[in-house]
């Protein structure tokens, strides 16, 4: 990027160039790209599942029962004789949606909450963080059961419930970041330019606090997927015959001695997702860390 013409400048006017540059850098990071490709593939498969799945996900064959991988059923069948590959594909629809949407909710609330508390400091900070403390301390299970009873059972609520838990840690991380950033001279410079606190948080603080947030986010997605299984267990999440990776794994755990493939394959898919996310996350972090890029 040594020569820049006026036309490039005109590009620069549109939106933040940080993101454009980050994208460019990301596209040169192979593991990150591979991670991105895997995730895209998973999302695509999830979207196309109703058309590409080899079997009907609910169709049982009770006499067949659980069978190991075979030519007919590449990943084997579960105890109802249902095709595991199909189950995993349908499960991915739920898990990926929950994983990404709930994480996004948590990210949105957590980052804004933490950023505001950290930047404002003083009494506002104290009040906001005490609220976080309170939510941390409340008995989660009772809270979930109550949510379920008050609002009925639906997926939206699932996202809300998960988001409501995960944002707390996110807010704490963000706040710590912001507290150290707000001492920095460039923030002071922004104040002296006359920027409003919100503009400073948005333009100067958040982009510089993204590193740890991205790393934590990549860790949140898989834990959200597993949390969904627990909520489903309590009755809040998906209901059979629909399924999710978390549910497949928790059922697989029960029968890991008898039918190990029922644990292995869903676990493998989750692990692949996790590593893809991790590579993508690290790549994103590096891409956003303009200082680390020496090219």
């Amino acid at each position: 990027m040594s020569t820049t013409s006026i036309s490039a400048l005109v590009d620069a006017e549109q939106g933040s160039s940080l993101w454009r540059d980050a994208w460019l850098r990301l596209s040169r990071n192979r593991p990150a790209l591979a991670g991105f490709a895997v995730l895209t593939l998973f999302v695509l498969v999830a979207i196309l599942t109703p058309w590409v799945a080899p079997y009907d996900y609910a169709q049982q064959n009770l006499e067949l029962g659980a069978t190991p991988p075979s030519a007919d059923h590449w990943l084997g069948t579960d105890i109802f004789g249902r095709d595991l590959l199909t189950q995993i594909m349908y499960g991915g629809r739920i898990s990926l949606a929950v994983g990404f949407i709930a994480t996004a909710v948590a990210l949105l609330i957590g980052v804004s909450w933490g950023a505001i508390a950290g930047y404002m400091g003083g009494r506002i900070d104290a009040v906001m963080m005490r609220l976080v403390d309170i939510l941390y301390a409340l008995p989660f299970m009772i809270f979930i059961v109550l949510l379920m009873v008050v609002f009925g059972r639906n997926m939206l609520l699932l996202f809300l419930a998960i988001g409501a838990v995960e944002w707390l840690t996110m807010a704490r991380i963000m706040r710590a970041q912001v507290q150290s950033l707000r001492q920095q001279e460039f923030v002071e410079a922004a104040v002296s330019l006359g920027l409003s606190p919100l503009a400073i948080i948005w333009r100067h603080v958040i982009p510089n606090a993204l590193g740890p947030i991205i790393v934590y986010t990549t860790l949140t997605v898989p834990s959200v997927m597993l949390l969904e299984a627990f909520l489903s267990f309590l009755g809040l999440g998906v209901q059979p015959p629909e399924t999710s990776w978390g549910l497949l794994i928790s059922f697989g755990t029960e029968t890991m001695e008898e039918y190990p493939w029922l644990l292995f394959f869903p676990g493998l898919v989750l692990a692949i997702t996790l590593f893809a996310l991790n590579f993508l996350g690290d790549g994103l972090r590096d891409a956003l860390d303009v200082r680390g890029a020496k090219d």
Partner: protein
């Protein structure tokens, strides 16, 4: 420092009060009372039961009475275990959970710091990738899966360790501690790696090297102290998390800890036990977060007194 501790404890009071209040009403709003059971309960019996637990009085009166008891340190009688007080149940379960959490934390520190430091010494080599990938898996493998896996391998196939129990047979504390500590080991590994990477580029490490002292001493004496600062900051929340998150491990390994009582209480709508455990655990969380901050300050001389800072 004492002022700081005092003000933090003072701040905790309203937090706890809100937690108590919300929980108090939350459990009462939640469907299914403590006495509902599969076989229909005769109305007279139900009335008698409710009277014994003050449930027949107006909710507000119950609330005030509860707060009154709480101030006297009385958490009330358990609904699930007639004849036992919540104080007694916590007294029975907490020492076990605390012991389990402590071992888990030791496991987590041992594995986590070890892996993190080893990884940080040669970043972006196999020596870094292997422990860090293991840590990634560690973070995401639920104890619901790790526990049974460890039991199968070490308890059943190899027959080295007991599959359950706590203090009943030699070695029965090992697997629960590892299972519970695994997630935290992974977090600590990441934290200590990042911390060490940061510290080992500091000027004072160069100073230490210039003194000609051996590399291990540079890492251990000069590097660790600063590199583990984020780990120390994490210890409080981690210990609190271990204490309140041990339920799954306690269930899998048949450990008679507080977590089992707590979750059973939630399932059974044991109002007093839910409340008691919540109050107890959230007080602990406050205390451990505070301890962690104090420890952090103590580890870092600059924070012990901030008078040395430039104006």
């Amino acid at each position: 420092m004492w002022r700081f501790i005092g003000s933090r404890l003072l701040q905790a009071i309203p937090v706890l009060l809100v937690v108590i209040t919300v929980t108090f009403f939350l459990v009462r709003v939640a469907p299914g009372g403590p006495f509902s059971s599969e076989k229909a309960v005769i109305p007279e019996v139900k009335a008698a039961l409710e009277a014994q637990y003050r449930l027949d009085r107006p909710v507000l009166e119950q609330y005030i009475a509860y707060l009154g008891d709480l101030i006297r340190g009385d958490l009330g009688p358990s609904f699930k275990y007639p004849g036992r007080s919540v104080n007694e149940l916590i007294g029975a379960g907490f020492p076990v959970t605390a012991e389990l959490a402590l071992y888990a934390l030791l496991v987590a520190l041992l594995i986590g710091v070890g892996a993190g430091v080893v990884a940080s010494l040669r970043p972006n080599t196999a020596q870094d990738y292997i422990p860090m990938s293991a840590a990634m898996i560690g973070i995401c493998i639920p104890s619901l899966l790790l526990g049974p896996l460890l039991i199968l391998v070490f308890g059943i196939y190899l027959d080295w360790l007991p599959v359950s129990g706590w203090g009943d047979m030699p070695g029965d504390k090992i697997l629960p501690a590892i299972t519970l500590g695994a997630v935290y080991a992974a977090y600590i590994a990441r934290l200590s790696r990042a911390g060490m990477l940061e510290v080992m580029t500091q000027d004072y490490i160069r100073t230490a090297r210039a003194k000609g002292i051996p590399e291990w001493r540079v890492v251990v004496v000069h590097g660790l102290r600063g590199g583990l600062t984020p780990v120390v900051a994490f210890l409080g929340p981690a210990f609190a998390g271990l204490l309140s998150g041990s339920f799954v491990v306690e269930t899998i390994f048949q450990v008679p800890g507080l977590g089992r009582f707590y979750v059973q209480a939630a399932f059974n709508r044991d109002y007093t036990m839910i409340l008691g455990a919540t109050v107890f655990l959230s007080s602990l969380i406050v205390v451990f977060n505070l301890l962690s901050d104090v420890l952090n300050a103590w580890m870092n001389p600059r924070l012990r007194s901030r008078a040395g800072q430039n104006t």
